[in-house]
Amino acid sequence: MKEIVIISGKGGTGKTVITASIAALAKNKAMGDCDVDASNLYLLLHPEIKEKNDFYAGIIPSIDLEKCTNCGRCQEVCRFDAINTIKDQTVINLVSCEGCGLCALVCPVQAIQMKENHCGEWYISETKYGPLVHARLGIAEENSGKLVTLVRQNAQKIAKKNNLELIIVDGPPGIGCPLIATLSGANLAVVVTEPTLSGLHDLKRAVKVAQHFGVKTVVIINKYDINLENSINTERWCKKEQIAVIGKIPFNTIVTEAMVQGLPAVEYTDNSVSREIKKIWKKLSKPSE
């Protein structure tokens, strides 16, 4: 079983658009959407949700105002500026709270209760292209890394159960914990970039993170014809780092048209983008990759 994750570093380079088209081309696979903050893949795959699960992670404190003496000890120890005195009352700001529980531990009158935080949901669905696991992290919640890991674990479970040889994962932007949780243990990271200074800057960091976690990397340059010079510079850098560029997709507004119709680009029309993605999929599906 092989797990391919599609990442970028920079947001908006085209991960989800490309993942959806690959999902349409690949057979015998399961899919995961690990962009749990802002999950978009389902907008192109139209899943029928079969199973909905609650996601609990972290703990949130609440102060029993009848017991609280406003001694201020919790404020003293909180490292995240989450506890303040407002109008003579001790108040916990849940947005700043990191859920460490130290306030509850130090309270001399046990006035602080900690309870499990329901901070999202995850789903197992059927799509036209195979099973999909995706999730929604609650608004302004933390623990996205944990939810990402849950999505991947369940995609792996489904693939094993159904003898599927491949898992395709749509990753999040950035290089922090959601991205790290997406990458670790994956067989191949496909990094989607764009020929801009920002794109190249962020590509380098994303690749370094993948290398740090020992994941083999290949690159796709999306919208490559916006700036041919930058595209060539990107190829040059990849060559120096011995990273294969497996495709260069031209800019084409047909991608947006397809998205508005709710379709992966390769299912919309025959166009310059779908032709290049088909070539990319051919490379990715070769046994050596």
Partner: protein, 293 residues
């Protein structure tokens, strides 16, 4: 006045808007402009503002260090750690710095006072000047998972004298602009909380709409007034416009898909530097926000 620029969806144009707004405002000699790039995972604003960096500091999280001579492996530290950053066996204590949030619980509760805290570097913070703009950004080290501690440190650089008596007197002479990361989880919250206003940059596509709705929910939860900049406004469909109308969210500025902007962006050139009509548009954007607040 603190204005943050966020989006939900990546790649809609946050940095473009934040950078060009800063440059347009900085032209007014009466205004003091401060720019904070809070996308510490993938900072890009410096590519456009090209600041001269004058200082650099390490950002560290205090992580536990166990004194083996004093430790009796009682396991209390692991017990109080909610992040599973400490594991205790019969004769060994393992610390996982990547999981540690630096809360100090283990250090406080060790009965044998066997734990001290040492700084574990997670990234750097840099300050400098881009023309008259006071610039700060941060960079998360490769392989480190947590952005919020660096963002918190950047936010501490918000100039005190800009924002004294903010509740009574939001001044439009001192402006702090914050370029936020994509998404809706903790790095974004840390970046935008306590802003006077948030500009949400979006695009008129299904992905843009979906993520905009999430971003608006975040701002409603944080109770921050907000408005939209609609980028690449002439592609896609009208659902974002309809959503904004229905929910009384003002569209402050619409920018068409423009090859001139795209090519300039790809070269690291801010659009206000090559097209004066955009400088005017960004000034108008600011005026609208100043009026709303």
């Amino acid at each position: 006045m603190i204005i943050s620029v966020a989006s939900g969806k990546g790649g809609t144009g946050k940095t473009t808007i934040a950078v060009n707004l800063a440059l347009a405002l900085a032209k007014d000699k009466e205004k003091n402009v401060q720019f904070l790039d809070c996308d510490v995972e993938e900072p890009n604003a410096h590519l456009f503002l090209k600041p001269v960096i004058t200082s650099s500091e390490s950002v560290e999280i205090p992580v536990p260090k166990i004194d083996d001579k004093k430790c009796n492996y009682c396991g209390k530290c692991a017990e109080v750690c909610v992040f599973n950053a400490i594991a205790v066996t019969k004769n060994k204590v393992l610390v996982f710095p990547g999981l540690c949030h630096g809360c100090g619980a283990c250090t406080l509760f060790c009965p044998g006072k066997a734990i001290s805290e040492v700084g574990n570097e997670i990234g750097i913070l840099e300050e400098g000047k881009a023309g008259s703009i006071n610039f700060t950004h941060g960079r998360l080290n490769i392989g480190k998972p947590m952005a919020p501690p660096i963002i918190r440190k950047i936010k501490k650089k918000i100039k005190k004298d800009y924002n004294d008596n903010r509740d009574n007197n939001i001044t439009n002479h001192h402006i702090t602009l914050i370029d936020a990361p994509p998404g809706t989880s903790c790095p974004v919250i840390e970046s935008i909380k306590d802003s006077d206003y948030t500009i949400l940059v979006t695009e008129p596509t299904p992905f843009g709409l979906h993520d905009l709705i999430l971003a608006v929910e975040v701002l409603q939860k944080l109770k921050i007034p907000h408005g939209i900049v609609l980028n690449k406004c002439d592609i896609g469909d009208h659902k974002v416009e309809e959503y904004c109308k229905k929910n009384n969210i003002p569209i402050l500025l619409s920018i068409p898909l423009d090859k001139e902007i795209a090519v300039a962006y790809s070269k690291g050139i801010p659009i206000v530097k090559i097209n004066f009509s955009y400088e005017q548009k960004f000034n108008q954007l600011f005026q609208k926000i100043a009026q709303i607040i």
